[in-house]
């Protein structure tokens, strides 16, 4: 039992290190992970695209993809080694996870070779950014209950309806979308899947302001949006099958959270005076600190166990859901508790006044969304209990009922 690299892994790691040190700046660890960029989203996107191009050029942008798509044809372990090393560098993050983690893998499975020839590389090199148009006002967890319609018109389809919570739609070039082609059959059977150009006439994107103040996601309206049949992925009525490819990848793409953790809390507890003395001497603070340390370590070593299984050729299953089940509430509770330590001053969300650039306040607000995005805490518990433990599925009252006869919000 050890964490040692095999000789091949060690060789790969040293190549990665060499490349990173030549191409990126090391993270300033004294500044913790909390370093929040003050640049605008547009500026950050430009930097992220430059970095993505560099990384793709070196083959590190998609280590496990086949070489014909610009990947390295490498292993999952190599991909993890790269991430471990990259974590020590101050490089742009965000923007490409949904596209490369979910949309393009869906394309690679369902699009034609010509289409993949056209779209995969530009996405990989950060030239084109992709978004996922699944959720709707009436369909989130139950995404198969979506209502956006598509109707055949000669060689085209006409899409009408509304998507919501679409992360990045405002800067994305392309999107994958699932729509309803037949409302007279049960909900999973009447769906059809497309990819489309976000500049297509009839698409209107309106940013939504989040409780954290930012606007990472959008409402996207479709008014007679014309999409050629050649952009359909999978058969008519088989859109759910295609969606599953995306959703399976979502689980892999999301994994554990980031942000402020026990190290930052330890630092805060050392630097903050409570009524009875330094916070770090307070037994309640110590217990919480220990709990979150243990959870972080537990997640880290669970990942190592998964990696070990991967390296022996086993396939990880729904176990990876536990990363998000644990880290969402942990991020939220840790942020909240760190604010408690700051007393009334904990209400300040002020980059200059609040410790670590208000990282705890920001995390407390942001984590509320993390627990919902990409599968809520409750849906993930359903997945674990059904797929890992083999418990019965929830009773589905909508199973064999035509979609247009179902009860739904606002229509009983």
């Amino acid at each position: 039992m050890d964490f040692n690299d095999t000789p091949e892994e060690a060789k790969f790691r040293s190549e990665v290190r060499e490349w990173l040190s030549a191409n990126a700046r090391q993270r300033d660890t004294s500044n913790a992970k909390a370093g929040v960029s003050t640049k605008s989203e547009a500026e950050r996107l430009v930097r992220a695209k430059e970095w993505q191009a560099k990384k793709a050029e070196a083959g590190y942008a998609a280590i496990t993809w086949p070489t014909e798509y610009g990947g390295l044809g490498g292993t999952s372990i190599q991909s993890v080694i790269y991430s471990q090393e990259e974590a020590n560098y101050d490089v742009p993050r965000g923007f490409f996870e949904i596209g490369l983690g979910m949309c393009i893998p869906t394309m690679m499975k369902w699009a034609t070779p010509e289409q993949n020839e056209r779209f995969v590389k530009p996405a990989l090199f950060g030239e084109e950014v992709w978004c996922q148009l699944f959720s709707e006002p009436a369909a989130g967890s139950d995404v198969a209950g979506l209502r956006t319609k598509c109707e055949r018109d000669g060689d085209d389809w006409i899409i009408n309806g509304q998507k919501v919570w679409t992360s990045g739609a405002h800067f994305c070039d392309y999107g994958i979308i699932v729509t309803r082609s037949d409302p007279t059959v049960p909900k999973h059977k009447g769906l059809t899947f497309f990819f489309l150009d976000m500049k297509t006439p009839g698409i209107e994107i309106r940013p939504i302001k989040q409780i954290s103040g930012g606007s990472g996601f959008n409402e996207v309206f479709f008014n007679d949006v014309r999409v050629p049949d050649s952009q359909r992925l999978g058969d008519v009525g088989e859109g759910w099958k295609v969606s599953l490819t995306t959703l399976m990848n979502e689980r892999l793409a999301i994994g554990g959270g980031s942000g402020v953790d026990y190290e930052e809390l330890l630092k805060l507890a050392r630097e903050t005076e409570l009524e009875e003395g330094p916070a770090i001497k307070d037994s309640n603070v110590r217990e919480k600190l220990a709990d979150w340390y243990v959870q972080s370590q537990g997640l880290k070593y669970t990942k190592f166990r998964t990696l070990t299984a991967l390296s022996k050729g086993q396939v990880p299953g729904a176990e990876s859901s536990i990363g998000k089940i644990v880290s969402g509430p942990k991020m939220q509770d840790l942020g909240s508790f760190a604010m408690d330590i700051q007393g009334q001053g904990g209400i300040l969300q002020d980059g200059d006044e609040s410790p670590m650039g208000a990282a705890f306040q920001n995390q407390w607000l942001g984590a509320a969304g993390y627990r919902i995005a990409g599968g809520t805490d409750e849906i993930l518990r359903n997945i674990v209990s059904e797929q890992v433990l083999g418990l019965p599925q929830d009773i589905r009252v909508d199973k064999n009922v035509p979609f247009n006869e179902l009860a739904s919000s606002g229509k009983k």
């Binding site: 330890l266 050392r270 243990v294 537990g298 997640l299 669970t302 536990i322 433990l389 599925q393």
Partner: protein
């Protein structure tokens, strides 16, 4: 990256599991619960005969000469069936303390007998309902004589040798030492005590000018004790992981069998999510325990931190699984005749056997403070 047990270790684990499935069912555990026996002698003898007790004891002292990882896989299986045997007292505590701190003579005297199971050993620290510390230990050791009272002592009635935490007159942490005492001598009287888990015998022991000898250096007992506890914490964490998995499976099986309102109770989310939470805690505990095992086997410098993590994680997982296992069973779960009680009792016993979770959280943070001087 090879963060897993070896094939040989997994074979050993299978062997332990098969033996225990055969010889140590809940019905067998129940015989100890319902009798005055301190442990289940047939199961204990079987474990000794299979060489598990001697697994991590060097060959020159009569053991098999394997290591901590082998003990860990056996521990998981012992925990799974809530085995009513003195394994932890005799091996994780007494034998390990002797291995770490004992002189050559002490090792030669005691380890072979502990390895073969000819005798049982234990460690006696507590003196009633308060956590032992260098400040409150009243048992004294001076001029080769031990005087005082220890309570509760695991397997105290059946053990032949004990490692005892005693005051030796120093100040602060140097106030206490560990001593080795033969429990079969005249100056020792003992009687069994009632505990929350009668499947593991405990006793009160009184020492009246009993002959004893120092284990390690006088005044360094607390440091040595903490080192022994750290190793034991990892091993007990494996018992807790085994117990957690058993409680989860028991609850899951019942939830598939039992119907209410025309459905299996396992189809209700309140039950499904509870079981999912047990699983999540189990996985975190297992991962932390594996890391603890690796550090223990490699005698790594961060044993204290790794052991505390393993213990805190596993204590929480077992607490939750054992208590919610009863809840999932409804009324039958609260009965003497049903089996969830074994894990409910054992989970709390193990949670306290090396000191409470709060104590370990404090130890953990003290280590973090040392390792991360910002």
């Amino acid at each position: 990256m090879n963060f897993d047990f070896s094939d040989d270790q997994k074979m050993l684990k299978d062997q332990a599991r098969k033996f225990l499935e055969d010889k140590c069912s809940y019905d067998d555990v129940r015989t100890v619960l319902e009798s005055d026996a301190s442990h289940h002698d047939e199961v204990w003898q079987g474990l000794c005969d299979l060489g598990f007790t001697g697994a991590a004891i060097p060959e020159q002292y009569g053991g098999v000469g394997l290591g901590a990882l082998e003990l860990c896989v056996v521990a998981e299986e012992l925990g799974r069936c809530a085995a009513p045997v003195p394994f932890s007292s005799s091996i994780y505590m007494a034998a390990e303390a002797l291995k770490i701190g004992g002189s050559e003579t002490l090792k030669q005297t005691w380890l072979p007998k502990l390895a073969s199971g000819e005798i049982i050993g234990t460690l006696a620290a507590a003196e009633g309902p308060a956590a032992p510390s260098p400040r409150n230990i009243k048992t004294t050791f001076a001029n080769g004589k031990l005087n005082g009272r220890k309570l509760p002592v695991p397997d105290g009635e059946t053990a032949s040798v004990a490692i005892v935490l005693a005051n030796t007159g120093g100040t602060g942490e140097q106030a206490v030492s560990l001593v080795v005492v033969d429990l079969t001598q005249d100056g020792v009287t003992r009687s069994s005590v009632e505990t929350i888990d009668p499947t593991r015998g405990h006793a009160e022991i009184n020492f009246d000018n009993a002959d004893a000898s120092l284990l390690g250096v006088s005044g360094e007992g607390w440091a040595l004790m903490k080192r022994v506890e750290a190793g034991a914490a990892v091993l007990v964490a494996f018992e807790q992981v085994g117990g957690t998995e058993a409680a989860l499976n028991m609850a899951k099986d019942y939830s598939l069998d039992r119907y209410a309102f025309g459905r299996q109770i396992g189809s209700y989310q309140a039950i499904k999510h509870k079981l999912a939470d047990m699983y999540v805690k189990l996985e975190l505990a297992r991962s932390n325990a594996y890391y603890g095992a690796m550090v223990l086997a490699q005698e790594g410098a961060d044993l204290e931190l790794a052991a505390a993590s393993a213990r805190i994680s596993a204590t929480e997982a077992y607490r939750f699984a054992a208590q919610e296992c009863i809840q999932v069973h409804g009324g039958i779960g609260f009965t003497w005749e049903a089996n969830p009680q074994f894990h409910y009792r054992r989970s709390k016993l193990l949670a306290l056997s090396l000191g409470s979770a709060s104590r370990w959280k404090n130890r953990l943070v003290s280590e973090l403070e040392k390792s991360n001087v910002a």
